[in-house]
């Protein structure tokens, strides 16, 4: 799966992202900043629902981490579309790297960046806002790792389906925000209107945050979140199938430099 050439492509992809770190910094700084403002209301809500020792971080930290992770998907712009704007896509394709090498190599840095973003936000949330889990840290890591894979597949789908970087980013951001909101990133899903609660099941954010809530508040381990993991795996397959079916290496994309 990870050939030498895909790792070489990934290395350069990582350098490209590091050369323009602002988007990643935003997805780390903003959730920590917003957290300060949302903590009091989240604390009140959790205490009202019976979590007497709640700090508010139990919901705010995962919710904002997931919300801004969706925004991080826009990095596909740099990894795919900018190659067309820079004129490097065709010379990459003419190289010894196969289409699979390029596809996998482009997505690997995205996976690492989004995982790092979540890790930093959760860790900083623990330090700054007292986020703690009552359940299994391993389960938390597995849920987050699978959620990031779903995001990467979502990003791959955007890169495959849309012809322009602007289209991909706008749809990605709007779609991502909708999925995050429905999933309970901003307010607990249980507080949403009935129609939204029903629709939430169609969002990978819902299953992610539901599993994280169980791990955070209800001592859940890996065995307790298997349903959420299975559904997330389903989203991963769905987005991946669409991306692979639709991706055309020879298609000209429009990016900005």
């Amino acid at each position: 799966m990870l050939s030498r050439r895909s790792l070489i492509v990934a290395g350069t992809g990582a350098r490209l992202l590091l050369a323009d770190p602002a988007p990643m910094i935003v997805t780390i700084v903003l959730p920590l900043l917003f957290g300060a403002f949302l903590l009091p209301s989240s604390r009140a809500q959790l205490q009202q629902s019976g979590i007497v020792n709640a700090t508010g971080a139990e919901h705010v930290v995962p919710g904002l981490a997931v919300l801004f992770a969706f925004l991080g998907v826009s990095l596909v712009g740099t990894l795919f579309f900018r190659e067309h704007a820079w004129g490097t896509w065709d010379r990459l394709r003419a190289s010894s790297a196969s289409t699979a090498d390029i596809f996998v190599g482009k997505l690997l840095p995205l996976y690492v960046c989004l995982l790092a973003q979540l890790a930093v936000v959760f860790t900083a949330g623990a330090v700054m806002y007292g986020y703690r889990v009552t359940g299994s840290l391993l389960a938390l890591a597995v849920v987050l790792a699978l959620f990031v894979a779903v995001l990467v597949a979502f990003g791959a789908m955007l890169a495959a389906v849309f012809r322009t970087m602007d289209q991909a980013i706008v749809i990605g951001n709007v779609g991502g925000m909708a999925m995050a909101g429905l999933g309970g990133a901003l307010a607990p899903a249980s507080t949403l209107p009935a129609w939204a609660q029903a629709a939430a099941h169609a969002s990978p954010a819902y299953w992610t945050l539901d599993a994280i809530e169980d791990i955070t508040l209800h001592r859940a381990g890996l065995a307790d979140v298997t349903t959420a993991l299975a559904v997330l795996a389903g989203f991963l397959v769905l987005f991946s199938v669409v991306a692979l079916a639709r991706f055309r290496a020879e298609e000209t994309k429009v990016g900005t430099t």
């Binding site: 070489i8 492509v9 490209l16 050369a19 003419a94």
Partner: protein
Amino acid sequence: MLEIRDLAKAYGGRPVLRGVDLDVGAGEIVGLLGPNGAGKSTLISIAAGLRRADRGSVRIAGRDATRHRAQTARLIGLAPQDLGIYPTLTVRQNLMFFARLAGLGPSAARRQVNSTAEALGLADRLNHRADTLSGGQKRRLHTAMAVLHRPKLVFLDEPTVGADVASRAGILDVVRQLAAEGTAVVYTTHYLTELEHLGATIAVLHAGRIAVRAPLAEVIARFSAAGVALRFTGEVPHLPGWRVDGERLVPEAPVADPVAAAAQALVALGTRAGGLAGVEIVRPSLESAYLAITGQTAVAQTEEVVDALAA
């Protein structure tokens, strides 16, 4: 090294390539000429594996380039017509990336990066971001990325567009060196003097096919004729063996020595040459040959030998 047979490609029903046959041997530089829209870049894209042909075959080093893509891709280098460099990476990072993709190990890649940068005058810019380079330096980097792994076959699609004089000379030197080392080069350009400097074999793509493929000297000898015209103000005198063409007197038949023909005509005209305004000499050239092959109107590359002799 490169064998193209009966290559055809149409876009939206409009045929661009109608059955192209082209061979390029090891160490040969083929200058691929053709008007804008003739299909030169399309031909290169197909040969480099970026596009599929509607018909025909491409063989690289004896292997079918479509069926054996993995093996043939590592033999080629490509510098597309549009500049293709990573602006936010350094020159070294740009070069190392393609060296490693070409299969070079880390130390071999470093050596090739350093020597190619030296050859193209980029050695002192290796640690600078590519977006800080001048236009000419960017063109040299663009070319370097195609050649640094010493491919067996390299496609250079208008490599000197926008390059300054020094950059152009550096690129041509590298192309000559590559050919001397046995690389087959397919080189497109609208600057025909480059092909003369490279001693290239000429292939003219016209109406979807290779109309002519021959050494440079042969193309000029076969398709470019010397020419002369005497330009007059007022009435144009008549002279046997010459015909009136507007305000000019031109030979009825091709002349081998235009200067001698002009001198003989002026002697024969004597005092009737009083209205002479200028003498235009057209020397055989690749440009006039190319224009003749593609059926375009010859814009005479003239030397004004005698100008505006006032009465």
